[in-house]
Amino acid sequence: MRSAFAIMEKELRVYFTSPIAYVVTAVFVLITGYLFYSIVLFASSQSLQMMRVQGALPQINLNDLIFRPTFHNMAVILMLTLPLLTMRLLAEEKKIKTIELLLTSPVSLIAIIMGKYLAAMAVFTIMLLFTAYMPLLMGTYGSIQWMPILTGYFGVWLLGGVFIAVGLFASALTENQIIASFVGFGIVLILWLIGWIAQGMSDSPLGPMLAYLSIGEHTENFIKGLTDTQDLVYQASLIVVGLFLTHRVLESQRWK
């Protein structure tokens, strides 16, 4: 456990001494911020219109009108940015041969993987915290329900956890960072697209099955503000599978 923290600390140091954490965070905050701004603009014009039609202050739900699309946007942007955060985690160690150092130190493979995973999660959590101005702003100037927003954040956080586990796995496969990021992105995209395929097959028995496998399906409830054990189990098992496969890949590479 102590060695996992040592690895995590080292990864965090690398994240923040190189530009990568700053760049990824900046791009994420910038794009989500812009999209949030345009959503708020759209919502306010809509409420003005409703006011004109109804002649009274309309009852609009800010959670539904603003935060649901915002969480969706975050999910898509995370799909594009988190692979950039995870790509170097193992690929770089293999490329510069420091993996030899880690594997000949009295550190277990699990500690190495957990250290790296937790470091990426920490950076991602900081990224997400930067968007906290959105509910704070809305809460100050409007009335919002806090629980659904917290649940939504939790859902996006879990989703990011899956993306990072998948990205770490992709990083274990190769020593080329670009390939690692692209493979990570590809896997996540496929998990997402399964949902679309499922929609097109809604009349066949395969439809619901594919829908259950889709990652979007299991994020939707959280974004709506619902916590379902089924979604929790799905996301958690994807994380575990991702980390487990990472372990297997690293272990098998030792035998080659």
Partner: protein
């Protein structure tokens, strides 16, 4: 300290090392000598637990490397061929990280760090980024990494490659100082290095051990005769027989070369037959191009042992 028994490693059809068996005593400095691709790195990687062997066993400080990898890894310091450095860290940051993953207790870390910096003469550059250091310093940081936790066994894979002559001498000095206190295995393909720093040499070729002995003993083995190298431009078919007839000559090896014919004449120990051979060559008009005594060194042992199995090259 180290017992290795019948270690074999195969990659598919390719056998990297076969039936490697040797022992190393506590405090000894042992060199693995062999051409590139002989299996030195593979053997070291197995000993350090980086990769498993196909068959065979090895124990380090009484712990089996396959059954108790953690116990073994705690007791080993390993410097791979290319030092495993994080170039974006400073020397101190890097060594502090190493101290943590090697399991050094918090209280002893600062002391271990200072000691490693001193032993590898790094104190001056402790605050600099590793990426900005010269090759020689990087190699020393690699060595500091290997010995920060004061391991009983040090495994150094070609510790002097890529260094300039001055740095090589410094590196050898550091390694010599490690002897006695640590058991050291190092690999090299530079022969004088093995002679300079090691008590015992293992010559490894094509994955097999071909000789184990002290450098002096290995040279002595071949010192059963003197050799004279003779290059002739126009030798006659009977040249070899004429040479053999010279008193004191034991045998004559003959091989063609690019600028004539090379004859290696083996003579009795303690006899210098150069003048006799020269007059023979002049007398028979063989076109003497070169004549010199072959000095025996570890190099000859090495070449002899590693070329025996190699296919004959005929021009």
């Amino acid at each position: 300290m180290i017992q290795v028994q019948n270690l074999t490693k195969r990659y598919g059809d390719h056998t990297a090392i076969e039936d490697v068996t040797f022992n190393v005593e506590k405090g000894e400095v042992l060199a693995f000598l062999g051409p590139n691709g002989a299996g030195k790195t593979t053997t070291m990687r197995i000993l350090t637990g980086f990769m498993p062997a196909t068959s065979g066993t090895a124990t380090i400080a009484g712990h089996d490397i396959f059954d108790e990898p953690y116990e073994v890894k705690k007791r080993i310091g390993y410097l791979p061929e290319s030092p495993p450095l994080y170039t974006e860290m400073t020397v101190t940051e890097y060594l502090r990280f190493i101290a943590k993953i090697k399991g050094i207790e918090r209280k002893q870390r600062a002391q271990a760090l200072t000691r490693a910096l001193e032993r590898c003469v790094l104190t001056e550059v402790r605050g600099r980024l590793i990426g900005n250091l010269s090759r020689g310093y990087r190699q020393r940081v690699g060595l500091a990494q290997a010995l920060i936790h004061d391991p009983e066994v040090l495994i150094l894979d070609e510790p002097t490659t890529g260094l300039d002559p001055k740095q090589i001498i410094e590196m050898r000095q550091v390694i010599k100082e490690l002897a006695g206190r640590h058991t050291v295995i190092l690999s090299t393909h530079i022969l004088p290095e093995a002679t300079a720093v090691c008590q015992r040499v293992i010559i490894i070729h094509e994955g097999r051990i071909v000789a184990v002995d002290t450098p002096d003993q290995l040279s002595a083995q071949l010192r059963q005769s003197e050799k004279i190298h003779l290059t002739l431009k126009t030798p006659q078919p009977e040249t070899a027989d004429v040479l053999k007839a010279v008193p004191g000559v034991l045998s004559v090896f003959h091989e063609p070369s690019s600028d004539g014919q090379v004859f290696i004449v083996e003579c009795e120990l303690g006899r210098d037959l150069r003048t006799e051979l020269a007059s023979q060559a002049v007398h028979h008009r063989w076109g003497l191009l070169e004549l010199r005594a072959v000095t025996l060194s570890l190099e000859d042992v090495f070449l002899k042992l590693t070329q025996e199995e190699a296919p004959e090259i005929t021009a």
